[in-house]
Symmetry: none
Subunit: 199 residues, 4 copies
DNA sequence: AATGAATGAGCATTCATTCAT
DNA sequence: TATGAATGAATGCTCATTCAT
């Protein structure tokens, strides 16, 4: 319990520090200070610096999966489900800039290092998209010739690039609402089965 | 001439090393060895390690801009132009894994550091997409209510995520051709002005 | 306590190493080895190499000031006070060759770097001489037309040059006693044969 | 001839650079630039960096010996000769700050390195003082119990400390004239108020 | 469990020196 | 003679990790 608390405290601190400085520029002592523990204490809960990074992902992405999943169970319509995913994802990213940065930057930077590991958790998150699409296809809402494995990449990539720019504060031209509308418009009108023409 | 050669030789070596190890894990001595010059020689051509990274981007992305632009001038149709961009981008990424990795990983990792700088060159590349879209809107081919600034992110993000997975060798399920078809299908059918129904 | 010990241990080691090799030729690792600590440990107590030099001065000169001052309070006669200063200074220099070298060599070498800083402590030491002279003038023992500010330089310079040669082991012709006698003789009454007064 | 010119040009440049930055902080390229030759050219005239330092001394001190000697031959009075030495030395030091710095700083810094070598030339300079004193003793002008070997150190040390402070621009309270008067006064007749002779 | 002082491997960068031209 | 591009050894400092307390 107490141990679990400290574990989380360190992960939260690490998320903040990684986001601010990047993995390689982050110091263990930075994380320790942020978590208000001694440097050595960190090694009671993690094997090494990289292990912290892994845990940050594990933790944060699990949380994202949970949140998104919770929202999705309430909505059966695959069309709306996709919008919910987009909304949830972008909202979380906008709300938690630290998390966004870590996802954005560290995910890439360390991908090769993480590779085997990370796939599980992170893939699980992205696979939510393909699952939605498959469901939609089963319900004759999404085109059958769309490859869920490719579509999930396209959809996630679009959201990811949007939030990348946000996290850099490079563009603030559009609201979250407007952006989602555009993304969904582009994506949905494309993957939807065209309504049959009545002649 | 000679100097220019060495400059390029170092950039190519750096691209390779950065791709393989990432910026922070790359050693100057690695780059020097790869370029077959002495460590000190590198500092005759670059101010510091980070300057090499900047130069790698500058060089590589300039080259990408040039290649893509050259292909585009031959094709006036905005619909096909978008496909050409996608094809060129994914092909370049698939062909030059080193470059892909650098773009993928370092672009993010170092974005905060690069920020102001990088925007110029990299933004120039992505803006090719929005320019195509604007042209297509002017020609009544792309829907007028599509925001080119958002669409370019969605389109690039989709391609980027695709090539990210490729560069990790995580997925090789689909051919380039098939993938592009899917991406274009998703994206185009969405942004195109629906042809009016004739009844 | 423990920390203070290590601080002093490093300063002593640095004094020895600086004396032996000079500031620029001294390696941090030399000092660390001499102090029997790890290289990194030095940076727990000092900001950088130059800071060590500063601290060596601070420490050593403070000690000299203290020793000289302690001796002087016991002797009210300004004439003897000057001799005490000379004796103390030369004895300390002879006894602690390392210190002498550091004072001799580093004081000059780094003066421009140290300038503002060092003046305080080192000037304080030299000003002991001018203070003695001023007291002597007030007691009608030293000539009123002597400028204490110039005389202190002449007196210190003489001692300094003597100990410089000693520390180089260039000359060992005279004993400390004899040398001091000569110096005091010259300084107090001059080298000229007094012209007989005609009355 | 041409070669000799370049040799001197480099020495002059080195004197300037050593004075400004100190031996260890001076770069060969600094000297080359100052001398308006290529870096490599310096190695046609000197064996290494340290050799340049040696040559700078050799050159400069030789010049000082020559100048002082020239002035002394015109004045037979040992009392005035000492004043001439002081005046010449301080004037040269004040006029040529670069030289002064090199003498001041480098002389000490590198003494151990130079030791054997330098003694010859530099000792020759200081021995001018002891020679004057010996002459004065032979003429019954200077006290016979004064050790010329100690007196020369005292006299040179006094002048040296004065010019050290000058070269640091730490004190500008007194004119050269006034300073020399004081130094000569102290050295020749001492700081003590003469006790009246009881006859 | 917690601490934080100590460790020491590791690296970007500099610069005296060389040598092909 | 003269050049200056190239070399590569050398080092101050950092920081992840350990371990005595």
């Amino acid at each position: 319990m107490k141990a679990q608390d400290k574990h989380i405290k360190i992960i939260n601190a690490a998320t903040k520090v990684f986001a601010k400085k990047g993995f390689f520029n982050a110091r263990i002592s930075d994380i320790a200070k942020e978590a208000k523990v001694a440097d050595g204490t960190i090694y009671l809960y993690f094997n090494n610096k990289f292990d912290i990074l892994i845990s940050v992902f594990e933790e944060e992405i699990s949380s994202m999966i949970e949140q998104v999943t919770n929202s999705l169970v309430l909505e059966p319509d695959p069309k709306l489900q996709l919008r919910i995913f987009a909304t949830k994802h972008l909202t979380m990213m906008k709300k938690n800039k630290n998390l966004a940065e870590v996802i954005q930057i560290e995910l890439r930077q360390s991908t090769k290092l993480i590779k085997d590991y990370r796939n599980n958790k992170f893939s699980e998150y992205i696979d939510i998209i393909s699952t939605i699409i498959k469901n939609g296809q089963a319900q004759n809402i999404y085109r059958a010739d769309i490859r869920p494995g490719i579509a999930k990449r396209a959809f996630f990539g679009a959201l990811d690039e949007i939030s990348r720019v946000w996290s850099l504060s490079l563009e603030t031209d559009y609201t979250v609402e407007e952006t989602i509308n555009q993304i969904m418009d582009i994506f949905l009108t494309g993957v939807l089965i065209p309504t049959p023409r009545t002649e």
